[in-house]
Symmetry: C2
Subunit: 84 residues, 2 copies
């Protein structure tokens, strides 16, 4: 069994509004930081898991993303994996 480190990036789909991101964007302007054209908030899930090969990790992560991590209706996911 090998140990893998996986980073999952979960983003709202481009067509979905992000009111929290908009709030931060306008707070940034009030703080004097200008020039922000867009700002979106997503999730970062980092997990360490054991598996015998890379394909097993991919299967596990895709199942977890589809069923637990992301809401497929409004979110997209992407992941990077690294053998430790």
């Amino acid at each position: 069994m090998s140990q893998f480190l996986v980073k999952v990036f979960i983003r709202l789909r481009p067509s979905v509004l992000d009111p929290a991101g908009e709030a931060i964007k306008s707070a940034a302007n009030k703080l004097g930081v200008d020039g922000i054209n867009s700002l979106r908030i997503g999730k970062l899930i980092e997990t360490e898991l054991e598996a015998s090969h890379e394909n097993e990790v991919k299967e596990k992560i895709e199942l977890l993303c589809d069923r637990l991590f992301a809401n497929n209706v409004i979110e997209d996911y992407e992941y990077q994996l690294e053998k430790k």
Copy 2:
């Protein structure tokens, strides 16, 4: 002025408990996905901003991270920037 794409990763400090991450970890076990040693949930903030040079972007992002994006008491941040 150039356009920069910045990805900010915000993580709970290692000493801070992550009950939401623990809940997902145990839900993953119930789903039949075993071998997960750790799972932590963080934030991903992606922003597009204008600035005249890279140092200006770094200054802006560090100010935003310290004041708006992250809670310094319990979170750490890291960022990557890319010129568009």
